[in-house]
Amino acid sequence: MTWKEALGDRIPAELGAEIDTFERQIALRRQGKIDEKVFAETRLRRGVYGQRYDNGQRNDGTGPKTLPYPSNGLTKGPETVWDAPGMQRIKIPMGRLAPDQMDTLADLAEEYSDDVCHVTTRQDIQLHFVHLDDTPDLMRRLAAVGITTREACGNTVRNVTACPLAGVCRDETFDVTPHAEACMRFLLGHPDAQDFGRKFKVAFSGCREHACGLVSMHDLGLIAVTRTIDGAERHGFETYVGGGLGAVPHQAKLFDEFLPVEELLPIAQAISRVFARLGEKRNRARARIKFLVAHLGLEEFKRLVLEERAALPDDPRWTAHLTGAPPAAEQPLKPAAPANGGGSNGFEGWARTNVYHQRQSGYATVTVALPLGDLTAHQMRRLASLARQYVGGAVRATAEQNIVLRWVREADLPALHRELSAVGLGRAGAGTLADITACPGTDTCKLGIASSRGLAAELTSRLSERAAAGAFDPAVEGLRIKTSGCFNSCGQHHIADLGFYGVSRNIGGYAVPHFQVVLGGKWLDNAGAYGLASGAVPSKRIPEVIERITGRFVAERREDESFQDYTRRIGKRALREMFADLATVPPHDDDPSFYSDWGDPREFTLGDMGVGECAGEVVSLTEFDLAAAEARIFEAQSQLEEHAFARADELAYGAMLLGARGLIKTEFVDIGDAPDAIVQEFRTRFFDTQVFFDKYAGGKFAMYLFRRHEGGPKLKPDAVHHLVEEAQLFLEACHACQARLAARPAAGMPAARTPAAGAQAAGTQAAGTQAATQGQGR
């Protein structure tokens, strides 16, 4: 019995087929039949990510050592050893979780990971120390509860995020959930979102003022707004593009003050097309859309997007979520009932920081504050049970690495607090200085320089008691601390009041872990401003930095002055001076503790850094199709062995179509899936021109495709056997043709969007954009 058999039709057919394909691609990579770079991007697009030390090297504190994985030289990507454990990122759109999904996540953490579920700053769940060979079953079990890991990493549309209070917020303009959901479904696997040079992040917020959506730091950010048109109130979005953190943070720019909800998906599609066509592909450091917007200028970018939008053929999915019956709104499990006392120890402090009173009278949203975003499998399962008991399933993960339970009736708050506390989940201090965000840093990330989690754990330990006791000065209680292991800002340090990112300094011949102090970022107003870098301080002295700057702020602030205003008022020079004495490092012999990082006794080194996978691999659409064709021919051979001749015929034919389509995409990316169109385009572009011809065999291999396409299936065993062999030869010829095309001098022209002959295929390129494309020269 396998998981595939056990779960049967509980796995949606489409997800099941995708996972089967991925499993075949794993098998093919084992056989060396898929290039490691192509496989790396393939697995990244399924959320299967590398981890620190997966190059087989680790400094154990006495020097660099080889980790002798039993992989026999097999790799799952450049410098990534097959048997090295990795991370599985699991997309949770808008952070929405149901109890049965939480139970499954707990099971997977126990069986395939390290017993811990980790909530990320994009409302995802991550499992660490997962073996690649376990991932197909892991994905099947997720699929059976409605979760896909597709496009969780790689150069894709990442998890679509939204305010965790959407629908219950007292201040929102309207509930963005159905729109975020529609956007997620529309862009997932969309052909126009498969050829990006880097990742693309989308976020929704219900209002301008609060932080929840963090719209300003997104590639595409949407804020709910209304406008009265012809006397009727219409819903729409204030739309922003080109935001992002990373080494070079950009504030998103206003693309449209009011984008009607009907235009959300077509504009997202048009933006995707422009990004895919004109975005940088070679220089990974400048491939995010923020660089394209900056390079073109907002007006030109907008002009190109609107031109593309005008040329898009209608798609019923654009408005499907807006027509017919509205989606069922989240319903409370129990009738509302006001609070009536009865809290146990710590209840008051917890209620003050962790309870949000919803706009629906008598109900509250409870934040379960997770240290470093972690919870054990047992805690996850218990939380699922409490969700069933108290709210019927309305749970969301948050960008602050917590989990919220919505629709808790206020009368139940004391009991819920008691039950959460019984499993270690009743920690107070949500949304305070003690509720710290951290990226994985050197714990598991290949790019980590310093231990962001180690620092966050230390700070959490020092600050939590004060948070629970309400002992912070009101002026600093709500400040946010966020830590990143490097400048890439996965911990979102730029938008924290007190942000820190890992750097290294050489002191007396030793590497010493430091954190760059970034002050005055604005978490509110949807990540309204980025902080100022104010100098690097040794990692072990960061707690003193926090004590000093918060103390000075409380003492020196003017009436109602915000922390952002205070840091800007006193200026960068004064901030540097404030920490100047803390920047010193004692000699190694006097205090060696400075020369190791938080939570790690090894002497600090940068030698364990590897090649990051955040940027994914730039793999062409052609390579993807050829890899998929290989998987399909592999399955055809399996079916042939099992005498499933009809299925083998279908798979072999499908493999040839995929191979042909891959080649066509070098010239015409919008070819689509229709066999007739593929064969026609292939004939026109590659057969009639003899581009496909083999030096010795001429057009013979192409005839295999034409014959099967025109003659239909022939299901006698010998005929199917021949077809499978012919499909294999056809694919070999596709690879050879691709290699010849790649060796040709670059034409400097991106793939066109017009068919070579016949009717216009779906999605033609906007008139006039060819010129812009050529002029762009990217």
């Binding site: 019995m1 002798p68 048997d83 069986e111 390290d114 120390f129 270690g424 959490t460």
Partner: protein, 197 residues
């Protein structure tokens, strides 16, 4: 789905520490790092993961390719776990014995390596071990599998505890299939190890 002992490869074993002897979990982090340097326990030792900020679960992990060694605080009961990830050779009973030997040897090493710490080292009374299946396909928690596994573990308990009366009790956690094996008398780790050879 049915119980398939031949297929059950993912499981964990936990030996409990004397709660009074267990110090702050953070003190074990350098011990595990040293184990990597010295190849002190079997397996391809990869890294140490710090989860000391969590309660009621894993606290410090020594991550290996074949299995994780885990300082574990589940249910507030400190102990050392051995969580098997890669397949072992032999029948289920043999695999159990191999894993138990690795766990007990690691516990003995932990006793030795912490004995010089301020306040004394961690000790393991050796009279209780817990088994949990980590494969809900081969071993879901249903009556049939529970019964079959109980028999296997009762035999293993008799071997490990030298024929003494062994209480075999299902885990309190209904989501996991497993049993606690407990005997009245404390037993040294060396004695337990000798019974697994």
């Amino acid at each position: 789905m049915g119980y398939d002992a031949a297929a059950l490869q993912r499981f964990s074993l936990k030996i409990f520490a004397d709660p009074a002897s267990a110090g702050a979990p953070r003190t074990i982090i350098p011990v595990f790092h040293r184990w990597i340097q010295e190849h002190a326990v079997p397996g391809l030792l990869i890294d140490v993961a710090d989860y000391t900020h969590l309660v009621d679960g894993p606290s410090v992990l020594l991550v290996a390719h074949e299995a994780n060694y885990v300082l574990d605080e589940t249910a507030g009961r400190p102990g050392l776990s051995y969580t098997r990830k890669q397949p072992l050779e032999g029948a289920f009973g043999d695999r159990l014995a191999t894993a138990a030997a690795a766990l007990i040897a690691a516990a003995r090493r932990l006793e030795q390596d912490t004995s010089r710490m301020t306040g004394g080292g961690v000790t393991f009374p050796g009279n209780e071990i817990e088994f949990a299946a980590n494969d809900r396909l081969a071993a879901p928690r249903i009556a049939d599998t529970e019964s079959a596994l109980r028999n296997e573990l009762a035999g293993f308990g008799a071997r490990l505890f030298g024929g003494a009366d062994v209480e075999v009790r299902p885990l309190d956690d209904p989501a996991r299939l497993g049993f606690s094996l407990k005997t009245a008398e404390t037993i040294t780790l060396d004695t337990l190890l000798s019974r697994l050879e």
